[in-house]
């Protein structure tokens, strides 16, 4: 087990392809929190985020044999996660539950919801007044995902394009429009 901890992601996946399931579980341990954080940012709901992560790993488990090692394991998992998010959105659309109701208790960003909180305190405290999750919720899923990947994951345009399998120009324009929408909607609070 200790040797698994020292292995790179790629080594773990190769071992898994040769039948070592413990190696896959090590990958799960490494990426569960990260993927959960991304999923939560995108769907804003703990139960949905959990389902998405579960489906992501199940997809990776089934598709490991087809992984060609052209991308990093992290990018590969993220790519699967983005697809699962899109699938989840489609079913959520039917259920119409994007309540964003169960935010983490540790969050300090959720005290006040903008734009309902437009009568809230001065501008210098904006980071602590704006409900970031609700802010993201105002965006379309396509705009939300590029913004999350850029601002929260710190990915370059090229990396985002590769993850979402869209042209780099599309990433750039979606990101631009997402920010312009937020600037417009939260004018005076940014």
């Amino acid at each position: 087990m200790e040797s698994l901890l020292r292995m790179t992601d790629l080594e773990l996946l190769r071992r898994f392809k040769h039948g070592d399931e413990a190696a896959f579980h090590e990958l799960v341990d490494r990426y569960a929190d990260y993927l959960y954080g991304v999923a939560w940012s995108l769907v804003g709901h703990a139960a949905d985020a959990e389902d998405i992560v579960q489906e992501t790993f199940a997809g990776a488990f089934r598709g490991a044999a087809g992984f060609r090692e052209a991308a990093s394991i992290k990018t590969w998992l993220l790519r699967i996660l983005m697809r699962q998010c899109a699938r989840s959105r489609r079913s959520a659309w039917k259920r119409r539950v994007f309540s964003f109701s169960d935010r983490p208790e540790s969050s300090t960003d959720g005290e006040t919801a903008a734009p309902d909180a437009l009568s809230a305190p001065p501008q210098q405290q904006v980071e602590h007044r704006v409900d970031v999750v609700q802010m993201l919720e105002t965006l379309s899923p396509e705009h939300r995902e590029v913004l999350v990947l850029r601002e929260l994951e710190g990915m370059s345009y090229a990396e985002i394009a590769a993850t979402l399998r869209v042209p780099q120009g599309t990433v750039e324009s979606r990101l631009y429009r997402a920010r312009q929408e937020l600037r417009e909607r939260f004018k005076g609070y940014l």
Partner: protein, 151 residues
């Protein structure tokens, strides 16, 4: 109304401009108050988003994740077993058809052969010996058959 440099400003903010484009936008921003304001808002937005605290996966959710993967593995194994069993069954049925598909032996000659067999008991063995009474009964019954094999 945004400045015509607005898109470049965003790319610059993201560190995605070439050196020459970067110099161009820097020179422009120095002169354009609208772009300076937009840049301040972009920086503020980035700070707000970066400050967002995201939860880690709860321990019980991790446990469920591990369990679900185990169940997934088991169901894959079970499916492999079922497929193997189905393949074996198909093979067996196929073989059975092949065997049955051979030309049937001549029934008339079989009847003749049956009637030609000597089913009489050896001298040293009587029906009361108890060795195989049903065989003896069968032999006696067969002895009574006509040559066509019909009872």
């Amino acid at each position: 109304m945004s400045c015509e440099y607005s898109r470049d400003l965003h790319a610059w903010h993201d560190g995605e401009l070439s050196d020459s484009a970067q110099r161009r936008i820097e020179a422009h921003v120095a002169e354009c108050e609208q772009c300076r304001q937009e840049l301040r808002e972009l920086q503020s937005l980035s700070r707000v988003l970066a400050a967002m605290q995201r939860p880690t996966m709860p321990q019980d959710a991790k446990q469920r994740l591990g369990d679900s993967l185990l169940i997934g593995q088991r169901s894959l194994l079970r499916m492999a077993e079922l497929l193997s069993a189905a393949a074996a069954l198909i093979l067996a049925v196929g073989l059975a058809f092949l065997v049955q598909g051979r030309p049937a032996p001549n029934r008339t000659s079989t009847a003749v052969e049956v009637t030609a067999i000597d089913y009489s008991l050896p001298d040293e063995m009587s029906p009361l010996d108890g060795g195989a009474p049903e065989s003896i009964e069968l032999a006696q019954w067969l002895e009574g058959l006509p040559a066509t094999g019909q009872p």
